[in-house]
């Protein structure tokens, strides 16, 4: 921050960090726009802007209900993300930068939802009916979030999906042992209770035509995801005994468990690869090997997930990529691979290079888990171009895109974010407001500041409790929840990096900030020059 005559003065805003919940209310209130939030790295990293620092601190102080409320302010679906979030907050956690081990921010969120599972989620009041009709195509995380936000605004919301049941990847892509279906059903039920009309088995392009829908509705959000598996593009990829991750997982969830051989090999290094590997074990495979291009450090999958899979018996082979699919009598029988010497180029683009070490791996089943893409052709024929702030689809006035459909394969939390952004655009559109005004602003925050590590306890990261599969047929949830003591210990590791600050020293000591603070954490001193 550049110093000037004012900012060189002392700050008269005193924050009690044992009380502050970093909610930002004071900043919203200040009548001279004096305050800013030194935003915690975790909170800043959260695509949804969840006040991570606030809820972790609240857990540490024993205020669990308040902590969950703080989460729910920006995230209506904490049960989902408490289990499945890719947790960019943890990647950004300053504790990780300092000690290598982030605070378990995601698991603490899950802890809250488990502890308070009987409590009704706090859904804000739905505004008066507007009479406007909105359509959300695709009932995955992005669509769910979009529908939720639009419905709160009082719009009529219909959400359609091509599949037999809503949920998108949450239902079809994530295995039961990572995300029990009952949690999803609960959220879907809640959306229905809010008055969102969810219709399944409605594939746009088959049952209904996109152009008709655009005409019928005041606004449309397309969030159909990336439901097509990526192919290796090798000979024999259609042979018997070869399947791709997504159809494999869908069959599982649809109650038609696929058959696997004794020896299973999985190609891929993301979380999906481990999901299918663990699924294969549960389906009775005797051995499961995962081959990926990356080294252990480069792996895309969360190390915690990799560890669980390995503990269950999955064998991970890093630094290899397939060269040939071996087939005997039309049936898959093995994979030939060569070693990978680099995955990414200097600019971090995916550009693998291979060496001359060749290996083969005999197996009966191959599962290809190298990613997904949009349905080719699909809804929108032209190239997909949209505004990155508003998510409005180029060439349309009332059509917006969200989720993986817009971005390509990403994460649930990113999908929810773009779902919300697209919904905000629709809300503005239907109110005749400017679509992008104020939206490029990063908020009243300070991002560069010195962080003190004094507040964090010396404890090591608390291991997340797991319940390993008891063998074939056991699809019970693996990851378990923290105990009260574990949660408190984990929360105590938080440095509590952020804090409100009297950034500009333009305080008139009028006190609204202090009055509005919900926790009496802020005290306004008379500025030194006047004292």
């Amino acid at each position: 921050m550049p110093e000037n005559m004012l900012t060189a003065l002392s700050d008269n805003i005193v924050i009690d960090k044992d009380k502050c919940i970093f909610c930002g209310k004071c900043i919203d209130t200040c009548i001279l726009d004096n305050l800013r939030m030194k935003i915690a790295p975790c909170t800043k990293a959260c695509p949804l802007g969840v006040n991570c620092q606030g809820y972790v601190q609240l857990i540490g102080r024993g205020f669990e209900e308040e902590a969950l409320e703080e989460v729910e302010k920006s995230l209506p679906f904490p049960t989902i993300l408490g289990r499945l979030c890719s947790a960019p907050c943890e990647a950004a956690c300053h504790r990780r930068a300092v000690t290598g081990e982030a605070v378990s921010i995601r698991a603490l969120k899950r802890y809250l939802t488990d502890r308070l599972q009987d409590r009704q989620p706090v859904t804000p009041e739905i505004k008066a009916a507007t009479g406007k009709r909105c359509l959300v195509i695709g009932a995955g995380p992005a669509g769910m979030m979009a529908a939720y936000v639009l419905r709160l605004e009082g719009h009529d919301v219909t959400m359609i999906d091509a599949a037999a049941e809503p949920g998108g990847m949450l239902r079809w892509g994530v295995p039961e042992f990572r995300f029990p279906k009952s949690y999803l059903d609960r959220e879907i039920h809640r959306l229905e209770q809010m008055g969102i009309d969810i219709q399944c088995n409605m594939a746009v392009g088959l049952e209904v035509q996109f152009s008709d829908l655009v005409k019928q509705y005041d606004a449309v959000i397309v969030a159909t995801g990336c439901p097509e598996p990526k192919y290796l593009g090798m000979d024999n990829e259609n042979a018997m005994g070869i399947t791709h991750a997504l159809p494999f997982l869908i069959q599982m969830r649809a109650g038609r468990p696929p058959e696997v051989g004794r020896k299973v090999v999985v190609v891929g290094g993301g979380e999906v690869a481990f999901d299918v590997a663990q699924t294969a074990l549960r389906l009775g495979a005797e051995s499961v090997s995962v081959y990926c291009l990356e080294t252990r450090n480069e792996l895309l999958a969360d190390p915690h997930i990799v560890r669980i899979a390995e503990n269950e018996g999955v064998v991970l082979n890093t630094g290899f990529g397939p060269t040939r699919i071996l087939v005997r009598d039309g049936h898959f029988c093995g994979l030939e691979l060569h070693n990978c010497t680099r995955v990414y180029d200097e600019n971090d683009n995916f550009s693998p290079r291979f060496g001359d070490i060749i290996t083969t791996c005999e197996a009966d089943t191959l599962i290809v888990a190298i990613g997904q893409t949009r349905t080719p052709g699909g809804l929108i024929k032209k190239g997909l171009q949209y505004n990155e702030l508003t998510y409005r689809l180029e060439g349309y006035d009332t059509v917006f895109v969200a989720g993986d459909f817009a971005s390509g394969p990403a994460t649930i939390v990113e999908g929810m974010r773009s779902g919300r952004e697209a919904a905000i655009s629709v809300i503005r559109l239907l109110q005749g407001q400017h679509l992008s005004y104020e939206r490029a602003y990063e908020g009243p925050v300070v991002t560069e500041y010195a962080i003190s590590t004094d507040r964090g306890s010396a404890l090591e990261r608390t291991a997340i409790p797991v319940r390993h599969s008891k063998g074939p047929g056991d699809f019970h949830e693996v990851e378990q929840t923290f105990s009260e003591e574990q949660a408190a210990a984990e929360a105590s590791r938080c440095y509590s990096c952020g804090s409100p600050v009297g950034r500009f020293r333009t305080c008139w000591f009028c006190l609204p900030c202090e009055v509005e603070c919900p926790t009496d954490a802020l005290y306004v001193q008379i500025p030194y020059l006047l004292r």
């Binding site: 000037n4 005559m5 001279l32 400017h434 008379i526 020059l529």
Partner: protein, 563 residues
């Protein structure tokens, strides 16, 4: 390149969501719930403006049977030394009791004694008009009402320039103080209620924001009106208050009306001769007998507790911290119990003083479709009562006018010029001087040359400096971010106000309202020649201030007695 900015349409636009602004919004929505009313507010309207934490008095209430509107006109005319248009003041007093009743209905607390009588104090030369109020939530109560009625508030949005079509005001260009984005609001009528110029002279405490009046007010209302061609008056009334040293917070009337003693520096009692803020300033500036001090150690505990209770709960409750920090307890004798008063920085204000956009009793300015209320308007020394009453009146007139006209096309040329200027500001990031340092200097120079005692030499120096500052704002000051940008608009207005003030002060070649317009080169008051308004309007460009003399508007004697 086609510019992309929001264009919003409304019926009545209110620039400034302080006391006058919220009251105007409430009234406008009451009159016509279907009209679209938008309030632009630089801060957050829930608290912003002078009444952030309430007020301890409604200074002018003409309570039937106690003090009549006619008496108020007479009394205030004395206080203004004749430079006061009677009709708007009469109207204000006449409606003041109604406004107070409305506040009572909204739940605002005016303490009553055991007989149910209000606490009414005399602070004017004649008559008791000042009613004690004790309501820290005054602003939030009004804000809530305004929102309930369907007013749309755009917080953190600074109105910067009025749009016109021929002779009529048709909208506003506003800047988002955080993002720097502009937006255009088309309006059928516009009410200016952006307060006075609180950030004018540099306060003695050295803190740019440690001023008496609400520091968010930088004369934006005056400058917008001026640039749109409206008449301004009273810019030579360069006000200083006489209040608690360093913290610059008031307490005079609360204490004096309850029996506190006032001493000058030599220990002479001064509370017996009906001291006013002006007489105290006079003592200090002209008689050189300051600083003055207040003592209360002779008062009953009950009275001290009552004073503390009022002082520490409403208006500027942070004062308690101030006294605590100084170790001052009103019960103590000597310097541990006394409160030292000093003159404040110089500022311009229609509510405390007589500076403002000239309005008639309908709150109409001299430009069609443009209304003004509160400290922006000239309803001399109307204080909060003036802000509330003229908030209502301006809403009534603006609503009526809005019903008779349609929107005009946006003057995109004006918007493009505005954007070009904004782009030029944002391009000056390599300049050497921070805007805060610049503000410090501008306001120091304002102190040096625009505060009494004045003379021609000093006032001309002020003009010389302001011309230079206007250039330096683009050649010397760096604008690195949106915060700097927003402040540059404020600074532009502070400089403009100084130009206006110097011009009016030069013109009034007499002394009046001593010490505030004390011209050492014309030390006498000359009612023959100068019992009139110095009216300022814009000529060819903002620097070209056109000066005119206008007669004081009086009411016929019968009107005053029969009304």
């Amino acid at each position: 390149m086609k510019q992309d900015y929001p264009v919003i349409q409304c019926d009545v636009l209110i620039a400034g969501g302080g006391s006058a602004g919220v009251m105007a919004a409430i009234r406008a929505k009451e009159l016509d719930k279907d009209q679209r009313v938008i309030v632009l507010e630089k801060g957050d309207a829930k608290y912003s403006g002078c009444i952030a934490r309430g007020m301890d008095a409604l200074n002018i209430v003409s309570i039937p049977g106690i003090a009549s509107p006619e008496l108020y006109v007479e009394s205030n005319s004395i206080a203004c030394e004749g430079i006061m248009d009677e009709p708007p003041n009469h109207m204000m007093a006449q409606r003041s009791y109604g406004v107070m009743q409305r506040l009572v209905d909204l739940g605002v607390c005016f303490p009553v004694d055991e007989n149910g009588n209000y606490d009414i104090l005399q602070v004017h030369p004649k008559g008791k008009f000042c009613v004690t109020m004790k309501e820290p939530e005054l602003k939030t109560i009004l804000h809530k009402k305004m929102i309930e009625l369907g007013t749309e508030v755009m917080n953190r949005t600074m109105a910067v320039e009025l749009l016109k079509n021929e002779d009529r005001v048709t909208g506003v260009i506003a800047v988002n103080v955080r993002t720097g984005e502009i937006c255009v609001i088309q309006a059928k009528s516009v009410i200016l209620s952006a307060g006075g110029t609180a950030r004018f002279g540099l306060p003695n405490n050295g803190n740019l924001y440690g001023v008496y009046d609400f520091p968010g007010n930088t004369g934006d209302g005056y400058c917008m009106a001026y640039r749109a061609g409206a008449e301004l008056s009273g810019f030579e009334y360069t006000l200083t208050y006489y209040i608690v040293k360093d913290i610059n917070a008031p307490l005079l009337y609360i204490t004096l009306t309850r029996g506190a003693h006032l001493y000058d520096a030599y220990g002479n009692r001064k509370d017996k001769e009906h001291p006013s803020l002006r007489s105290l300033n006079y003592e200090d500036v002209i008689n050189r007998s300051g600083p003055l001090r207040i003592t209360m150690d002779h008062l009953e505990e009950e009275t001290i507790a009552e004073i503390e209770n009022l002082l520490f709960t409403t208006e500027r409750p942070a004062c308690e911290r101030f006294y605590e920090g100084r170790g001052i307890n009103f019960r103590n004798p000597g310097s541990d119990g006394e409160i030292e008063l000093w003159g404040t920085e110089v500022f311009l204000c229609g509510g405390h003083g007589i500076t403002g956009v000239r309005v008639n009793e309908k709150a109409e300015t001299s430009v069609r479709g443009l209304y003004a209320a509160g400290d922006t308007s000239l309803v001399a020394r109307g204080h909060l009562s003036g802000a509330f009453v003229y908030g209502e009146i301006s809403a009534e007139s603006a609503t009526e006018f809005a019903h008779t006209v349609d929107h005009c096309e946006v003057d995109t040329g004006a918007v493009d010029r505005f954007l070009a200027k904004r782009a030029a500001r944002l391009a000056q990031s390599d300049n050497p001087i921070a805007i805060e340092e610049f503000e410090y200097k501008v306001r120091r120079i304002i102190n040096d040359y625009l505060r009494a005692p004045k003379n021609e030499y000093k006032l001309k120096r002020a003009l010389w400096w302001m011309k230079r500052f206007r250039e330096e704002l683009s050649t010397m000051v760096y604008i690195k971010d949106m915060h700097d940008l927003f402040k540059s608009y404020e600074l532009e207005n502070i400089i403009q106000c100084a130009v206006l003030s110097a011009t009016a002060s030069l013109e009034r070649k007499e002394s009046r309202w001593l010490p505030w317009h004390y011209r050492t080169d014309f030390p006498e008051t000359d009612n023959e020649r100068w019992l009139k308004h110095i009216v300022l309007t814009q000529g060819e460009h903002p620097d070209d201030v056109v000066v005119a003399h206008k007669e004081i508007i009086r009411m016929a004697k019968e009107e005053l007695t029969n009304a």
